[in-house]
């Protein structure tokens, strides 16, 4: 086989293998999210009528929580004022909560319906549009 084709094949193997590994990791995270949605219920009464709560897990030294997630949550709270309550949770200070919601990274956001069941889990930064779509889906179902 000419050397150039051997190198091309090597590139494809490396690229494909790495992409497969990352894809497997993403599938694992999705399974963890689904597990949270099946098994957990937040034991607290909503403080607003609509009752949608978002658990926003952070840590004291999480830069992305500050620079990205917090402003996105603020925009969501403004866009859906009166419908959404944001509950900030320090994953280090409250390890039981972090374990219950299988928090593996910060930021992590968990969108709860009015009954306290998780309807969406976002490991890593969740942009405003994603959160809006998740909240609107719950609002539609519980309208």
């Amino acid at each position: 086989m000419p050397a150039i084709f051997a190198r091309l094949l090597l590139l494809l193997v490396i690229g494909g293998g790495t992409t497969g590994l990352i894809w497997g990791t993403q599938q694992y995270l999705r399974r963890q999210g689904r597990q949270v949605m099946r098994t957990t219920q937040f034991q607290s009464t909503p403080s607003i009528a609509a009752g949608i709560r978002i658990l926003a897990f952070h840590t004291a030294d999480c830069r992305q929580c500050f620079t990205m997630q917090d402003p996105a949550l603020q925009r969501l709270a403004t866009a859906r004022a009166g419908h959404v309550e944001i509950i900030h949770i320090d994953a280090i200070a409250q390890p039981e909560m972090a374990r219950q919601y299988r928090v593996m990274t910060v930021p992590t956001t968990v969108v709860l319906d009015p009954t306290g069941h998780a309807q969406a889990v976002n490991f890593g930064f969740a942009p405003t549009n994603t959160l809006l779509a998740q909240v609107d889906q719950i609002l539609t179902v519980h309208a």
Partner: protein
């Protein structure tokens, strides 16, 4: 809840175009064993990291591809700083690759080139930015500008 952080946005399509271009340059350099392409990748990445306004990827994207409607800008919420850091890491790897190739250390040189290919490929295909991951962890270690939580979701720089 309050925050002093401004809204941060990046052009996701420009990022994808840059990542795809780096992938293409590093892959072609390796397949053709053509060092000038590796040098070109190093220069483009370096300019993107140091002076993003005159990045060759950005100029090509803004002055040619967008006017031709090949790409439409897509502004999304994201912090540009980690992406620039990732490009700086890529530059370091590519410069090391070129130095190794110039010193006839072909295996080390092409291995470094392939590392950049793989990392830009991962970012391009599944959106995981390894350089950004390092950036945030360096922040936690105090080696990057960082912020601290001071209660009730107020933050301050330290």
């Amino acid at each position: 809840m309050t925050s002093s952080a401004p809204g941060l946005v990046v052009d996701a399509r420009l990022l994808k175009f840059s990542q795809g271009s780096v992938m293409a340059l590093t892959a072609l350099a390796f397949v053709l064993q053509f060092t000038p392409l590796a040098i070109l990748a190093a220069i483009c990445l370096g300019i993107s990291a140091i002076a993003p306004q005159i990045s060759p990827f950005r100029l090509l994207y803004r002055l040619v591809l967008v006017p031709l409607h090949i790409f439409t800008p897509k502004r999304v919420e994201d912090d540009p700083a980690p992406h620039r850091f990732a490009q700086a890491i890529g530059t370091v790897f590519m410069v090391a690759s070129v130095v190794a190739l110039s010193a006839h250390a072909s295996v080390a040189g092409w291995a470094l080139d392939l590392i950049v290919f793989v990392l830009s490929g991962i970012n391009f295909t599944v959106g995981f930015c390894a350089g950004c991951f390092v950036y945030y962890h360096l922040g936690r270690l105090g080696l990057m500008p960082r912020v601290r939580y001071v209660g009730d979701f107020h933050w301050r720089g330290v």
